[in-house]
Amino acid sequence: MTAVPLAHVLVLAGILFVVGLVGVLARRNLLFMLLGVEIMLNAAGLAFVAAGSRWAAADGQVMFVFILAMAAAEVAVGLALVLLLYRRRGNLDPDAGGGDA
């Protein structure tokens, strides 16, 4: 089995990161922005895994496990916050202005 070249994986990770970033920047809904952040986290995780396999080191996988755990925590807290915000304000637009609606 031929190994996938590192460059390919990194390009994929970069594309994923940009997709996530564009999601964060372009969407005006907090829920989708949160999704964008998840995609960016996974892009970083992919880069770690690829790098770990390239140098045959365990560090990359360890880092990915960390990221996974952190992403889970983030989603748990973030979704709860988004839910609360929606209940309070009736929308999820971050630009809709401050103050309790």
Partner: protein, 631 residues
């Protein structure tokens, strides 16, 4: 004895402070404090004079160091006074004339607004003047020098309600400041070159370090001369004195005739060791004096205001003193200073009595025939006038004695000559001319207005005493050829080097003095005729345009004011107007404006939009990574 020395200036200062901080004194008490402080100071001066004469101190001078003023890096000016023949003479003049004028002011300034303010400033003046003449350190002398300048400003502008009085005060202050700046620079030069400002050390080291006619000696002497010119109203800084007559008449008598304006003469006489090292500057002294003598004399003959005549006359008489200093007659200059202080203050005070009696009328054309109505003012004025003209009518020989001393020296000394003597004699002619024109206009001729009241005792006593003093002062220095003994000149000889004169033989001297006296008498007659005639035609006849122009030119003091106005005042005012928004501030203000604009720009990034922040973070990290990778 040392206590007496510092008491002299301390008493007037104390009086001044008392009057300054307790403004609500009744006038009688204020006058008492003001006159009393100077009177006590005069007693101290008289006592120290007695001590000085009866038990002469070793070396002819008596120093007292009160404390060390500063002590920084070897530069240690002291607050020290020194009493020698020169400063003793000056102290006596200042306190005696000062006391008499204070007494006179108590009468003259009655019912004036700001009575105690007046005496506070007058006392401050006497104190500063005494510090000036007693100082044994140039820095202390400079303190007194600026102190008298300040008091001059305060007192010229005493009636500050009128804008032109304030203007005159500012003019006096600013014009003398030009000279003061020169003096200050001269003192810096002395301090850096000779390493000290204590007078004995300076004079001793100057003679050792500076060869005769060397650069630093010339520069130091020229700068000191600049200071003396400013204070003593010599060309070209003479324009402030006529305007200074805006002040009350006693102020003109005390500050602008008897004492402050002669401070320059004192300074040069005191620094004779430095001036002797700079023959070129000494020549300049004589030239400046001679020029001022003529300019002032001619201007005085064209004035209509009685006080302005006296002001130009003062200028011209101080020109005599400078002439004397220039030809090396140090003691002669100081002798003339003394007699001038007496007779000129007498003239001012008598004129003041006339002015007050005529409700502050100063225009001579509206006076006349006052000889019979104000006999005291007339006779005392006459005594002063004869002294001023150097006509030796027996009771008033002061001016004669001192002027002859100067003229004889101008003729015979190495630096003098027939030319300077001739100018001096021309000046004597002019002096008699304007003096007798003034007398004819004010006291003789048809009766003018009726004087309001009799001169009070407070004003009469100083007039009488000063008239007597004119006689006494003349006896102190009556020329040898007439069997007199120049006591004062000999006395001053212990502090001032005698001129390097080749003693003229008796016959020449007699002839010269006779010639000078004849010229004075001729001038007096011419002036009398001019005054009587001037009254008859005044107002009825229009003089031709050329004559009128010439008259305006001379009456305005030879157009110096206009030249300065065009050359200095207007360009300066223009510059100030152009620079009203302060070009020098452009840089700091530009920096401020730039930061404001930059902050306004950056402030826009703080918009509260979280997606913008995210984008900025992304772009920022991109840039940082790019830099890290590429560089």
């Amino acid at each position: 004895m040392p206590e007496l020395i510092w008491l002299m200036p301390a008493l007037p200062f104390a009086g001044s402070l008392l009057l300054l901080f307790a403004r609500r004194f009744p006038p009688a008490l204020a006058a008492g404090i003001g006159v009393g402080a100077v009177g006590l100071s005069m007693c101290a001066a008289a006592a120290s004079c007695a001590f000085f004469l009866f038990s002469p101190p070793a070396g002819g001078s008596l120093g007292v160091t009160l404390w060390s003023w500063i002590d920084v890096g070897g530069f240690a000016p002291r607050v020290a006074f020194r009493l020698d023949a020169l400063s003793l003479t000056m102290v006596l003049v200042v306190t005696v004339v000062g006391f008499l004028i204070h007494l006179y002011s108590a009468g003259f300034m009655e019912r004036e607004e700001g009575f105690s303010r007046f005496f506070a400033a007058m006392n401050l003046f006497i104190g500063s003047m005494l510090v000036l003449v007693l100082a044994d350190d140039f820095l202390l002398l400079y303190l007194g020098w600026e102190g008298v300048g300040l008091c001059s400003y305060l007192l010229i502008g005493f009636w500050y309600g009128k804008p032109e009085n304030g203007r005159a005060a500012r003019k006096a202050f600013i014009v003398t400041r030009v000279g003061d700046a020169a003096l200050a620079i001269g003192l810096f030069l002395i301090a850096t070159e000779l390493g000290s400002l204590a007078m004995p050390e300076v004079f001793a080291r100057a003679a050792l370090v500076w060869p005769r006619g060397s650069g630093p000696a010339l520069a130091a002497a020229a700068l000191l001369l600049g200071g003396a010119i400013g204070k003593s109203v010599q060309l070209p800084l003479q324009t402030w004195l006529p305007d200074a007559m805006a002040g009350p008449t006693p102020v003109s008598a005390l500050i602008h005739a008897a004492t402050m304006v002669t401070a320059g003469v004192y300074l040069v006489a005191r620094c004779n060791a430095i001036f002797s090292l700079a023959p070129a500057v000494q020549l300049a002294l004589a030239v400046v004096g001679a020029a001022t003598l003529i300019v002032g004399g001619v201007s005085a003959a064209f004035q209509r205001n009685i006080k302005r005549v006296l002001a130009y006359s003062t200028m011209s008489q101080i020109g005599y003193m400078f002439l004397a200093l220039g030809v090396g007659s140090w003691a002669g200059a100081v002798f003339h200073l003394v007699t001038h202080a007496l007779f000129k203050s007498l003239l001012f005070l008598a004129a003041g009595a006339v002015i007050l009696a005529l409700h502050h009328e100063e225009d001579m054309r509206r006076m006349g025939g006052l000889a019979r109505r104000m006999p005291l003012a007339f006779w005392t004025f006459m005594a002063g006038a004869l002294a001023l003209c150097a006509i030796p009518v027996p009771p008033t020989i002061a001016g004669f004695a001192s002027k002859e001393a100067i003229l004889a020296q101008a003729w015979s000394s190495a630096q003098g000559g027939a030319l300077l003597w001739g100018i001096g004699v021309t000046g004597a002619f002019l002096t008699s001319l304007y003096t007798f024109r003034m007398i004819a206009l004010v006291f003789l001729g048809p009766s003018g207005p009726q004087p309001e009241k009799r001169t009070g005792a407070a004003m009469a006593i100083p007039l009488a005493v000063l008239s007597a003093a004119c006689l006494a002062a003349g006896l102190l220095g009556f020329p040898k050829v007439f069997g007199g003994r120049p006591v004062l000149l000999d006395f001053l000889g212990s502090a001032l080097p005698s001129g390097i004169s080749t003693e003229a033989d008796t016959r020449t001297e007699m002839v010269l003095e006779a010639a000078a006296t004849a010229v004075s008498v001729a001038g007096a007659i011419a002036g009398w005729l001019l005054g009587m005639r001037g009254r008859r035609i005044s107002g009825t006849e229009q003089p031709p345009a050329v004559l009128a122009g010439a008259r305006a030119f001379f009456a305005g003091g030879w157009g110096f004011d206009r030249v300065y106005e065009t050359l200095i005042v207007r360009p300066f005012a223009w510059l100030a107007r152009v620079n009203k928004s302060d070009a020098a501030d452009l840089l700091p203000r530009g920096i401020g404006g730039m930061s404001m604009r930059l902050s306004g720009f950056l402030r826009r990034s703080q918009n509260g939009r979280v997606r913008w922040y995210a984008a900025s973070i992304a772009v920022g990290s991109l840039i940082v990574i790019a830099l890290a990778v590429l560089l």
